[in-house]
Each structure stands twice: as structure tokens, then as C-alpha cells.
């Protein structure tokens, strides 16, 4: 992309990203004085933010990030608009990443463990290094280099290279990159069908029909922000409707909620339906990409899976299967995704294979599966490698174990006995920045910088090289991993093998050696480096057609499919069990972020702590009520969790989110309610992944009640038409109709309706349009709002009392008659005839001349009348002085007041951003341009559901959207004239 085609905002952000020297002496020591710099660092202008481009490392997706640095501290992160993965957006986890830097449970210095008392005591870096070197020396002396193992999460580029060089120096090749979500089955299936063991780039936006077999690509699957962006494009209503999307799985997840149909099947039925669909399509001879022989062979392999068989096993009716097949046959580029991990599908390998086969039935699909840009996740090891490692540890083959950002003690089945095995390792060194379960077993804690304090590079998928730079100085006495390893290496092998001064030099050298043809203006190395750093990395133009098309080969596949043995539920208390990663915590690595703990789960609306889902019918049979603490027992262990009755999972099945039940992951993550992997039998599936679904667990009530802390008062709308929807046909017929909107402008006032005259808006009338058809309910906006506006985290006890402070809720309403979901982002509506304004005795809510309903904190005396009178219930009261556990207070945005007890607060449309934009416009003697800036929520929305702008300008995007026939205002009948205008969701049925 040419830099000159950037939007103004993008350019300014990028231009703010300047050098790095000032950063290095930036801000590690806190000073409490307001004395100005004697010699000001070049890029710190007090009161002005500096933005640095870096790469998000909260999950392997590797989104591009811009980090906002104010006076030396990182306060907020946003997506990098140039980055091909996320094009400017971040998910909830990305938005919360700053809480990694300021996490109160970070290790602030190196620690060593006293062998006898097992207590951690602080140590010095030199002491720690001595310990490591002594261990290494003794290992080398005995020639046991192979006994050194380096366990990390997925890492690429320079960091991986340094680890590799270090291990080489000690004579080991034991670098294991473990990701709990390793997609073993997906990769194995791709190997068998496409001949390449990798996760390709799925171009959802290019497809015209999508089936997902349990792949929650809007939440956690592979690269959720990227997929959410593509999905939004995929679902844009066309002439004949939206591109159809079917979800087949045991749970109504966020992704399933966005499908046209969620086809509920028990976990063991997922693969059966997939095979049944393949059978039906082959039966209808719909395999244009296959030759006759292949087709016959395939047909033979799936001959058992007749529609009758499918119906018998899964309850999916023949008609449903027929319609699915018909929709599939209509599509030119149908894409089929499979979860490929075995979280929700015991037959993950079969499903993944069938998904690959289905995708290869039609030639067009090869355009949407891009194997030239395989995800780096493909390089993570299969779980079986971890088992092998544990076995090696057991048998004493590992003397020295380095652990970086991996938490096997939490992620591996108890049966494997990691905790025991690790005792046989002579020295365990944890590089973790946070205390975690694995760290409890380490002898040495050598905390590394968090990624926001580090240099580095990361390659999310082939062709994209993201750069990481420190966006804030190191908070504590931590070190970059690379520096440590270089130092170890130098001590062992001398400077000859490790000539670099520090990891930064490693990075620069690798950069100099890298291929820079994709950079716009390859000049000198230095300028390209600067430019790449400014842009956040190096990549080609986004979304080109696949360079290589892999032809599927059915002959490669081992073509026999066995149906999963049905879950035998002979005893009434025997249920099947599965778990699922969540949009908040992924596999549990983000659980120590208070923002994410307080973010309601998009579907269950539960905050703080784990739960287990059970179908109300099954619960009724077992006399289980909401909140009953259940003991779930499998043959290998038992865990506890409170019951949440949820109709969105199959009957006789329990479902549990992953990421809860940490025993030592800091104050926010620690909860007694179960880690589902502890139930796992420890067996491996055909692709080398952990068998995570269990066909039989028993559940008993403990007699204790522990209500899951939900933020939804009622899951239903009660006929109130808060979140509205139209069918696609209605949408087509009503196009051109005037919307049911009373504009929050002077034109919206009339004598019949209004007693008071209209407000005057000078130039701007800020307004937001929320497209319910685009909103996927992921909750990224909520966390962005928390981070931008210094919203307090109130904790479990107060959320239970409904006191959460979220200015923006993504309300989730179920339909009462069928398992469908409507999401409704609800923030202050900035009404033009605001009920809150007229009731306050002291003018604390105040209508600005730009249409914003300002809340003047200083004036507020706390009558709470405004909130009482707000029909939208978007005002939040500071019941107590909410605290920020130090050093989390350093995250606070200096542009936004921190509120104290006794005052009301609410969404301000990010007024600080409006003011900033207006000041800039004024200094350039112009008006604010449409789309020049956005509030934090709209800025981060991966699906572009939120649009912000000036409603007074008829050419603005909001004015255009608000004129659509789908537009409506929530509770518009109250004549509040909200400034937030919603667009109805468009539903369509294909079954």
C-alpha cells in the first residue's frame, strides 16, 4: 500500500511513531513532581500522546497494534489500520493487553525458590544467571545437552532464532512451541487432503457460502479479528440476501449466534452431520471438482452416513440436510470450516477431513483457501509432543527446563502428571512475567518484559512480518528474554558465537538480512527500518488472490470414516462433557486481566469466574437449579463449578468455558471453579491432540449455591422490541421507505409532540449508528471503552449487585421461541429530549451545542434521578470509590477524569477525542472531517457495526445510514429523540 493513500488519521498516527531512543530511558522510575523536563526527550510533549506501532502478542493471531503513550506510559492500544491481519481493529483481549504491563501480579524482580520451604525469595540477576550457568555447565560436562528443553508458546522470527542459537550452543534441539489451541486435527486433515500440514488462510470474505462445524472463528479460532472483519464483508446483504452461513455444533456460541441457523447436535454428532452432508452431496453427484473414480471412492467411504443414519444419531432431519445440500450446491465458492481441535467435537479429525473434502468438491473453493499464507500456528507442536516431553521429564531425561509464556501445569491433563514430572527436572526456569501455575513449580523465576516493553518481531502468517517495539519503558526489574539468552550464551561459548550486544541488535541484524521488496521505498537499510517500524512491520498488499492453489487429493486421504461411538448415557446422571475456549480468555492466558474478567461473556453474560452449562431440560430432570454448585466427575478427576442453565447446548451435555479455575495466576484469575482439562482422561485423538470431550461424566450437587454473576436482568425482550430485526424480504421491500426515526435535530421537534423548543446545534450534532446486522456481539467495544474512559472494575461482589460500571453493554437477547440471539450494543443514547437532563436539580447532565449529553461530574450531588429516569439505563453510579490495584492506575487515560464515589457517569461519546479532533481541525482552519476520528468503541469494532459522525451534515456516513429504511431508535415512542440510531438486524432462513 502506498503511504500516500493513507487516510489523514492513519497518517497522523503513523507520523507520531518516531524513533526509539527516547523510549529506552523513558519511564521506569516514577516521579511525583510536576517539574518540567530540563532536557525534554524529543518525542514526549506533555499532554500529547505519542503512538507507536507494535504487534499484539496476546494470542498467535498477531494483530498490528498502535500503542498510545502519554508522558512515557502506555495507556491504550488500538489496531494498526495498515496491518493486513486486523486492519485497525482489536478484540477484547487485545484491548486489555495494557493490563499485562500494569498487572499487579507481575513478577517485579527475579526470584529463586528455597528448596525446603518452597518459598520464593528475591534474588539478583547475577545470582540467577550464576545458577543457570552452573546448571548448564554441569549438563555440558556430562554431555547431556539434549537434556535442556526450552518450552515456549508460539514464537517466530528473532526470538525463535535466539532460542535456537542458545540451544544449539548447549547442544540441544529441544525448542517446543506449545499452544493449547494447536488445531492438530485441522492440520492433520489438511495434510491428508491437501498434502500440506498447515493452517491455511481462510478467505471467508471471498466465499459465498459458509458452514462451520464448531469453528468459533469470531471468538478464538485461529485469528478471530481477521475473520470477524472478513465475516462482516461476507455477510453484507446482497441482491439475493446475505451469503448463507450455517453453524453445526453442540453449543450456541457467539459464532453460532451469527449464523442463519444453528444446527444443534451432540458433540459426537458433529462429524456425523459433516459426513452425512458429504454423503448427500456425493449422492446428488455434486462434485464437479472430482473425477468419477475419486467420487466413487469417496462415496464408498461415507456410504454408511445416509440421511436416515444421521437423523438417528444426531436428530438432524433429512429436510435440514437436504436444504443444506441445496444451499451448498447453489454456491460457487462454498467454504467449510471445522474446529479441528477436539474441544467440542470428539471426531475432530473426521470433521476436519470432511470439511476439507467438502471444500474441494467445488473448484471455486480453492480460491478461498490460501495455502500460500499459512498461519504460523502450524508450527506449534501437537499435544502429543507435550506428552512426550512429560514422559521424558518423568524418566529423568530433562535436566533443565526453560519455560516462556507457556503454562503446561494449567493446560495439560492431570493424568499426564506434569506436576510430578517437573520434580524430576533439576532446574526449572520460568521466564513468565506473571505468576502462574507452572511458575509455582519453577526453581528460578526470571521475569521477562511483557511484549509492550519489548523489541521483537512476529510473523502471524507467511508474508506478514510484524515488528514489536517497546511502547513504554520497562515497569519493573525485568529483562528481555533475548538479552538473557545472549548473556548465557556468551558466558558458555564466548562472544564469538554471540556477538550481539543485546536482543535489539539481533533483531536489527535479522532485519537487515530480511527481504524488503515489499516495502514501498526500499532506500537505505536505516530508512526502511524506520519506515517499517513506523508502519508496524513488513507485508505485501493485503488480500491478494492465493499465489499457490493447492489441489486437494482425495486419494491421499485415508478414506474410511467410523462414526463416533454414541455417548452412552445409561445412568441418568451420566452426561457428556465438552469445553470451549472463550472470547475473553482464549485458553486461559488472559484470565488475569480485570477488564476481561468483568466483561460479561457475550452469550451467558457471566462475569468473574467459571460455570458449567447445562440444558434446562436435563437440569430439570436432575433437579439442578441455576447456581447449584456441581461436582463433575470423570474417570480421571473431578472439578466443581456452578450450574448455568442454558438452552443453547445439546441435551444431556455439559459445557464448560476454558480459562477459569486458575489456582495461581494472580488475584483476578484465581477461582476455585474448575479447569475442564483436569477432567480429561489424558488420551490422545487420532491427530495427536488431547481428547477433550468426554462421553461420560457424572454430576452431583454439592448442596452449595453460588450464583454465576450475570449482568443480564432478563435474557428475553418480553415483546418490547428493543433489539429489532427484519427478514431479508422485508428489508428488500421496504428499501426507500422513510425510517421510524425522529431525528435528534431541530427538524425532529414539532408542536404536537414537544412542549419545549428544540436545541440549537451549531455545526455538529454527534451521533452514532449501530448496525445490528453487523454486530457480532464479541465485546471488543466494551473493553475499548473501559480502557479509554478509565472505567472502574468493581469486582464480583458488586457486579452481583448490578453495579458494573460499563458505559457500553452489548446486551444479548434470546428469542423466546427459538434459539436465536440478538445483540444490542447499548450506550448513552445522547437524546435530544433527554429524560435525564430535565430531572437533575443541579444541571449535572447538560445538553451541549453539539448534541452531546454531557455529564458534569463536579456538579453532580448524586440524587441518581437521572439514572432513575433514563429509559435506557445507561447511567452508572459510583457507589463506592472504586480502586485500581496498583500499578493498574498507571493505565488511566490522563484525558479523562477519574470519578470518585457519589457521582454519576456514563458514555460521553469519547468527548476527549471529539475535542482533540476539533482542536486539530481548528488549527488547520477547517471543520472536522467525517470519519476523521471515532470513539473507542467504534474504533475497535471488528465488524464495523458502529459508525460515528455528524448527523447535521447530510453527507456524513451517519446521516446516510440513519436515512436507511432499517433505521430505528430504541424506545423511540418515548419521544426521547436518541442520537444513537440503530439499524435492524436482517434475518434470513434457508432451512
Amino acid at each position: 500500500m502506498d503511504i500516500l493513500t493513507l487516510s489523514r488519521r492513519q497518517f497522523l498516527k503513523a507520523a507520531g511513531v518516531t524513533g526509539f531512543t527516547a523510549l529506552l530511558n523513558g519511564c521506569s522510575d516514577t516521579t511525583r513532581t510536576l517539574i518540567p523536563y530540563l532536557a525534554a526527550p524529543e518525542d514526549i510533549i506533555p499532554g500529547k500522546a505519542t503512538w507507536y506501532a507494535t504487534t499484539c502478542r496476546e494470542c498467535p493471531a498477531g494483530c498490528g497494534m498502535l500503542a498510545k503513550n502519554r508522558d512515557g506510559r502506555v495507556v491504550k492500544v488500538e489496531g494498526n489500520p495498515l496491518h493486513p491481519v486486523n486492519t485497525g481493529r482489536l478484540c477484547a483481549r487485545g484491548q486489555a493487553s495494557v493490563q499485562g504491563v500494569y498487572n499487579p501480579d507481575r513478577y517485579r524482580r527475579p526470584f529463586t525458590r528455597i528448596p525446603k520451604s518452597h518459598k520464593l525469595v528475591p534474588t539478583t540477576w547475577s545470582e540467577a544467571e550464576k545458577t543457570v550457568l552452573a546448571a548448564l555447565a554441569s549438563i555440558l560436562q556430562h554431555g547431556r545437552g539434549q537434556a535442556v528443553t526450552f518450552l515456549t508458546d508460539l514464537t517466530t522470527g528473532s526470538e525463535r532464532a535466539v532460542i535456537g542459537r542458545f540451544l544449539e550452543a548447549v547442544g540441544s534441539d529441544g525448542h517446543i512451541m506449545y499452544e493449547p489451541l494447536a488445531y492438530e486435527s485441522l492440520m492433520r486433515a489438511n495434510k491428508e487432503i491437501f498434502g500440506i500440514e498447515a493452517i491455511p488462510d481462510y478467505r471467508i470474505d471471498e466465499a459465498d457460502f459458509l458452514i462451520s462445524f464448531g469453528a468459533d472463528f469470531l471468538e478464538t479460532w485461529v485469528s478471530n479479528v481477521q475473520f470477524a472483519r472478513r465475516f462482516a464483508r461476507f455477510r453484507e446483504p446482497g441482491k439475493n440476501g446475505k451469503n448463507p452461513f450455517l453453524y453445526i455444533g453442540p453449543r450456541l456460541s457467539v459464532t453460532a449466534a451469527n449464523a442463519d441457523h444453528w444446527i444443534a447436535v451432540p458433540p459426537d454428532g458433529v462429524s456425523v452431520v459433516a459426513l452425512g452432508l458429504l454423503h448427500l452431496l456425493l449422492d446428488k453427484n455434486h462434485a464437479p471438482a472430482l473425477d468419477g473414480k475419486d467420487r466413487d471412492r469417496l462415496m464408498h467411504a461415507v456410504r454408511e452416513f445416509t440421511p436416515q443414519f444421521v437423523e438417528g444419531r444426531t436428530g438432524v432431519k433429512r429436510e435440514a440436510l437436504d436444504t443444506m445440500a441445496a444451499a451448498f450446491m447453489k454456491a460457487r465458492k462454498p467454504l467449510v470450516l471445522a474446529e479441528g481441535m477436539g474441544y467440542q467435537d470428539p471426531g475432530a479429525l473426521d470433521t476436519a477431513k470432511v470439511a476439507a473434502l467438502l471444500s474441494s468438491l467445488v473448484p471455486g473453493t480453492s480460491e478461498v483457501i490460501d495455502f500460500s499464507r499459512v498461519s504460523s500456528l502450524s508450527r506449534a507442536v501437537r499435544a502429543e509432543e507435550m506428552k512426550r516431553l512429560v514422559d521424558r521429564m518423568h524418566s529423568g531425561e530433562v535436566d533443565l527446563l526453560f519455560i516462556l509464556r507457556a503454562n503446561p501445569a494449567f493446560h495439560l491433563p492431570l493424568r499426564w502428571g506434569f506436576a510430578d514430572a517437573v520434580k524430576r527436572v533439576r532446574l526449572v526456569v520460568s521466564f513468565s512475567s506473571f505468576e502462574d501455575e507452572t511458575g509455582q513449580m519453577a526453581h528460578l523465576i526470571l521475569p521477562t518484559h511483557t511484549f509492550l516493553e519489548s523489541w521483537g518481531d512476529f510473523e502471524p502468517h507467511a508474508g506478514v512480518l510484524g515488528l514489536l517495539q517497546p511502547v513504554t519503558g520497562p515497569m519493573f526489574d525485568t529483562l528481555p528474554l533475548g538479552d538473557m539468552l545472549l548473556s548465557f550464551g556468551r558466558s558458555l561459548k564466548g562472544i564469538g558465537m554471540f556477538p550481539e550486544r543485546d536482543f535489539y541488535e539481533v533483531l536489527r541484524r535479522s532485519w537487515e538480512a530480511s527481504d524488503k521488496t515489499n516495502l514501498p521505498s526500499p532506500n537505505t537499510v536505516q530508512s526502511t527500518w524506520q519506515e517499517a517500524l513506523r508502519r508496524g512491520g513488513l507485508w505485501g498488499p493485503p488480500d491478494e488472490p492465493p499465489a499457490v492453489r493447492y489441489r486437494p487429493s482425495t486419494s491421499r486421504a485415508k478414506q474410511s470414516f467410523e462414526p463416533q461411538p454414541p455417548a452412552a448415557s445409561s445412568a441418568p446422571r451420566d452426561l457428556s462433557f465438552f469445553s470451549y475456549p472463550t472470547v475473553q480468555f482464549l485458553d486461559g492466558r488472559s484470565s488475569n486481566r480485570p477488564f476481561l474478567q468483568e466483561l460479561p461473556d457475550p452469550i451467558t453474560a457471566i462475569t468473574w469466574g467459571g460455570w458449567v452449562e447445562i440444558n434446562p431440560e436435563t437440569a430439570g430432570r436432575l433437579a439442578i437449579k441455576e447456581g447449584d454448585l456441581l461436582r463433575i466427575r470423570s474417570e480421571s478427576g473431578s472439578i466443581q463449578a456452578p450450574a448455568h442453565l442454558y438452552f443453547g447446548i445439546a441435551r444431556d451435555t455439559l459445557a464448560m468455558p476454558v480459562g477459569h479455575g486458575h489456582s495461581a495466576f494472580g488475584r483476578y484469575a484465581t477461582s476455585e471453579f474448575g479447569n475442564p482439562v483436569y477432567l480429561a482422561t489424558g488420551g490422545l485423538d487420532g491427530a495427536g491432540g488431547i481428547k477433550r470431550t468426554l462421553s461420560r461424566v457424572t454430576v452431583t450437587r454439592t448442596g452449595i449455591s453460588s450464583l454465576p454473576v450475570r449482568t443480564d436482568g432478563s435474557p428475553y425482550q418480553h415483546g418490547r422490541e428493543i433489539a429489532r430485526a427484519v427478514t431479508f424480504r422485508q428489508h428488500v421491500t421496504m428499501t426507500g421507505d422513510a425510517p421510524e426515526v425522529v431525528p435528534p435535530l431541530a427538524g425532529g421537534f414539532s408542536k404536537e409532540r414537544d412542549f419545549y423548543p428544540s436545541h440549537t446545534h451549531d455545526v455538529y450534532r454527534w451521533s452514532m449508528v449501530v448496525d445490528l446486522d453487523r454486530c457480532i456481539g464479541c465485546g471488543a467495544c466494551v473493553v475499548a471503552c473501559y480502557a479509554e474512559n478509565n472505567i472502574a472494575v468493581v469486582g464480583k461482589k458488586d457486579v452481583l449487585k448490578g453495579r458494573e460500571m460499563a458505559w457500553l453493554h452489548v446486551q444479548r437477547y434470546f428469542e423466546e421461541t427459538e434459539p436465536r440471539v440478538r445483540f444490542l450494543p447499548m450506550m448513552c443514547q445522547h437524546c435530544d429530549e433527554a429524560p435525564c437532563e430535565s430531572v437533575c436539580p443541579v444541571f449535572a447532565p447538560h445538553h451541549s451545542r453539539e448534541g452531546i449529553n454531557n455529564q458534569v461530574y463536579n456538579r453532580c450531588i448524586g440524587t441518581r434521578y437521572c439514572s432513575q429516569n433514563c429509559p435506557y439505563k445507561v447511567r452508572r453510579f459510583n457507589w463506592l470509590t472504586w480502586t485500581h490495584d496498583p500499578p493498574l492506575q498507571w493505565q488511566l487515560n490522563p484525558d479523562v477524569t477519574v470519578r470518585t464515589k457519589g457521582v454519576m457517569e456514563k458514555c460521553s461519546f469519547c468527548i476527549q477525542r471529539i475535542v482533540e479532533a476539533k482542536m486539530k481541525a481548528r488549527s488547520e482552519n477547517r471543520l472536522v472531517r467525517d470519519g476523521e476520528f471515532a470513539p473507542a468503541c467504534a474504533q475497535t469494532c471488528p465488524a464495523d457495526a458502529l459508525t460515528f459522525g455528524n448527523l447535521k451534515d447530510p453527507h456524513s456516513r451517519v446521516a446516510q445510514l440513519a436515512g436507511q429504511a432499517r433505521a430505528y431508535q430504541v424506545l423511540g415512542d418515548l419521544n426521547t429523540k436518541p442520537g444513537v440510531i440503530y439499524l435492524k438486524r436482517i434475518t434470513q432462513r434457508i432451512i
Partner: protein
């Protein structure tokens, strides 16, 4: 009151001012502890920590404190009703109870006026709602019902106090004449140099009449205005034009019940049967029946309007009221406020002090619950189902509520020991009338 002479009236009534017994002192002390606990321990704790220590559970932004506010304002009603309105209507049965009913009014308004402050998030700047020239150069918003409310309550409190005090002046003089020492000086000060001249009596009579006329509309207005706090809000369950008369009727209902609650024991303890007759109680009981019917009618109309409006919000709100989370409270309220007073149709019930007292207590409970059901019940199920939530007062709410009842009883007990609890002047007027009546048949 037959054959009573003025001096006997004085003697009999002022008996209550005699030094108190042990039981009284202990009671006062315990009540004082209750007040200290509620207002000087729990309230400061709440101020210090924030309102969150109380049981608030959004969307119920107004909890027990405002329930108490409306309850006490309601109690404050009957005092002025009895002393002013009945005075204008020349209802003679009010004589024995008007003074204590008025005292009740003053104390109740005082207690009520504290609750909105207790309820504030930042009570230390409550005075910002007072319109006065200030450094913030900001007047309060006169559109806000809270400003109406503040003005109405403040006016009512001022007018009631003056009215009460005016009636007290001749009695102060009487007490002054019968005491000595420091007490004489104090009572003398408050009697404003009353000497009982004809001119003074003339002015007194005129000002009392005028004040009665002034207070009468206030009785109606203050609770109407309080009701607008709710009726002017958009919450389903509140937003209704019936609220003003409905609240006034409710207030009178609760006020009369509170009069009975206080006077039945007072009459018994201080042996005031001569001045507070069973006939008076009967008349109050009959008024209670009337009020119960009005209140019952209001309940029914509310439901009818909710149904007739066709609004899904109104309908569900009222359905929630009868079968939802707070339904038990609603049904208790219906029984206490509407059914229980109907027993007063039975003569035996309305002439038995014990039964009168019991039913009065029921009505008090019922009226408290009515405010709870309206305020809390409506808010917990307003427009947005996602935001719904069920509130229940916790120990902080209860403690301050308890403190307010202690304060009320404490003030009343102090009142009966410090001021003549029965308007001696008016009793004496009655005596004159009786004498005159007697003289008529025996005259020439």
C-alpha cells in the same frame, strides 16, 4: 369533660410535664442510642465509604431511603390536616388530638427531610439545590421535580412550624405561670410576653385562622409535589396522572394511622381519657375507612389504566407487581391498607383502643410497603430487560430506617414531657362552650 374548670384543665394536662419516671428515662435513653446508631454511626459510615454500603442494586437507584422519605412525608400529613382543615371545618373532635398530631407533623417532616440528604451520593454538598447566589454562578434547575420537592417540603415544614408555634403561645404562658426558676424563664421566652389581653386573643384568633387557611392548601400540595418526583419520571408504574391525589390520599391514610398509633398509648399512659375521647378515635377510624376505600380505588385504577393503555411496559410492570418478585409485599400491602381498615365498620373494633392500635400498626406497615412497592417495584422492571434487577435493603438501609423511627418516637416522647400535648387553650374554649350550652336551657 363535664364540669371541668379551667384550672382543672391546666392541672390535668400539665400533669404530663411532671418529672418522668424510670421507665420513661430508660425508654428515652434507649431511643437516643438508636438515634445515635442510625444517624451518628451508620450514616457517617455510609458517607465515608460511599452509598454502595447500602443495599442498592441498579436499576433500583432509589431504595429504602426514598421509601422512608415518602413514608414520613405521608405521616406528616395528618397533623396539619387535623389541625388546619378540621379547624376550618369546625370539627370539634379534633381538639384533643390536634396538638400532638401537629407535633407529629413537625417531627415527621423533619425526619423526612433528612432522608433525601442521606440518599445523596455526595450529601456534603446537598445545599447546591438551594437557590442562592453562589460562587458556582449556577442556579438549580427549576424544571427538576426535586427542586419542586425541596421547595414544597421546606415550605410545608416552615408553615407547619409557625402554625404549631402560634397555637402554642397561650399554652406556653400557662406553663410559664405555673413554673418557676429557669423553666419559667424558658417558657416565658417562648410565650412572647403573652398576658391574655383581649387584644392578644383577638390577634391570636385571627392569625391562627389565617395560618390554618394557609396550611390547608399545603397539605394537598406537598404530597402532590412529592408524587411528581415519580409521576414526572418516565418509568412505567410511575408515569401516571393519578399520582397526586393517590399520594395525598395515601398520606392522609398513613397519617391518621400514625395518629392512632401514637395517641392510643399516650392516652392510656398519661390517663388523658378525659380529653381524648373514644369518640375522637371513632371519628378517625371512620375517616380511615374512607381513605382505605380511596386508596383501594386508586390501586384498581392504576391497574385498569395499565391495561387500558395497551402499553406493553405498563402492563408488564403491573403484572410484575402482582405476581413478580415483590408480589408478597404487594398483597400484604393490599391487605393492610384496604382490607384491614374495613374492620372499622364494626363498632366494637373502632371503639376498642387495642384493636384500633393494632389496625393502625397494620396500616403503617401497609403504607410503608406501598411506597416500597411503587418505588422499588417499578424501577426493578423498567424498560430495558437486560438491566433488570431485584433490590432488597441491607443492614445499612435498615439501620438508618430504624434510627428514623427511634428519632420520631424520641422526639415525641420529649415533646409530651416538655410541651402540653393537648391544646389547653382549645380545650378551655370547649369548656366555655359546654358551660354556655348548659346555661342556655337553664336561662330565662
Amino acid at each position: 369533660m363535664t364540669q371541668t374548670r379551667f384550672s382543672e384543665v391546666d392541672h390535668e394536662i400539665l400533669r404530663t410535664l411532671l418529672p418522668a419516671g424510670r421507665a420513661y428515662r430508660v425508654t428515652v435513653f434507649l431511643l437516643f442510642l438508636g438515634v445515635v446508631y442510625g444517624y451518628l454511626v451508620v450514616w457517617p459510615y455510609q458517607m465515608f465509604r460511599g452509598l454502595g454500603v447500602a443495599g442498592y442494586r441498579p436499576p433500583v437507584m432509589w431504595g429504602a431511603y426514598l421509601v422512608n422519605f415518602v413514608f414520613w412525608i405521608g405521616i406528616a400529613h395528618s397533623g396539619t390536616l387535623i389541625s388546619a382543615i378540621l379547624f376550618l371545618f369546625r370539627a370539634r373532635w379534633r381538639t384533643g388530638i390536634s396538638r400532638s398530631a401537629e407535633a407529629m407533623t413537625i417531627f415527621a417532616v423533619f425526619i423526612a427531610s433528612l432522608f433525601p440528604i442521606i440518599h445523596l451520593g455526595r450529601p456534603w454538598i446537598f445545599y447546591w439545590i438551594i437557590p442562592y447566589p453562589n460562587q458556582r454562578t449556577l442556579w438549580p434547575d427549576f424544571q427538576s421535580p426535586l427542586i419542586f420537592d425541596f421547595l414544597a417540603v421546606f415550605t410545608y415544614m416552615t408553615a407547619s412550624l409557625i402554625f404549631w408555634y402560634t397555637g402554642l403561645v397561650p399554652d406556653f404562658a400557662t406553663v410559664r405561670d405555673r413554673t418557676d426558676g429557669i423553666r419559667k424563664k424558658i417558657y416565658g421566652l417562648f410565650s412572647l410576653g403573652w398576658s391574655g389581653t383581649d387584644r392578644q386573643w383577638h390577634h391570636y384568633g385571627m392569625s391562627y385562622l389565617l395560618l390554618a387557611a394557609l396550611c390547608t392548601p399545603l397539605v394537598i400540595s406537598v404530597h402532590s409535589v412529592v408524587s411528581w418526583d415519580f409521576a414526572l419520571a418516565v418509568i412505567p408504574g410511575y408515569h401516571s396522572t393519578i399520582f397526586a391525589p393517590y399520594f395525598v390520599a395515601g398520606a392522609i391514610h398513613s397519617g391518621l394511622a400514625m395518629v392512632l398509633t401514637l395517641l392510643v398509648p399516650l392516652r392510656r399512659i398519661f390517663r388523658l381519657e378525659a380529653f381524648i375521647s373514644v369518640d375522637t378515635f371513632e371519628k378517625i377510624a371512620k375517616t380511615s375507612i374512607f381513605m382505605a376505600l380511596i386508596v383501594g380505588y386508586a390501586y384498581v385504577v392504576e391497574f385498569f389504566m395499565a391495561w387500558y393503555s395497551g402499553s406493553v411496559f405498563e402492563r408488564q410492570s403491573f403484572l410484575f407487581r402482582v405476581i413478580g418478585y415483590y408480589a408478597p409485599l404487594f398483597w400484604i400491602m393490599c391487605f393492610c391498607n384496604v382490607v384491614a381498615p374495613l374492620f372499622f365498620f364494626i363498632k366494637k373494633v373502632r371503639t376498642s383502643p387495642v384493636l384500633l392500635f393494632m389496625i393502625a400498626i397494620l396500616i403503617n406497615i401497609g403504607m410503608w410497603l406501598e411506597r416500597f412497592v411503587i418505588i422499588v417495584g417499578s424501577m426493578s422492571r423498567d424498560y430495558i430487560p437486560y438491566a433488570w434487577g431485584d433490590y432488597w435493603p441491607n443492614w445499612v438501609d435498615w439501620s438508618i430506617t430504624f434510627g428514623s423511627f427511634c428519632l420520631f418516637v424520641l422526639l415525641f416522647l420529649l415533646f409530651v414531657k416538655v410541651l402540653p400535648p393537648i391544646a389547653m387553650t382549645e380545650v378551655k374554649e370547649e369548656v366555655c362552650l359546654q358551660i354556655r350550652k348548659k346555661e342556655v336551657p337553664s336561662g330565662p
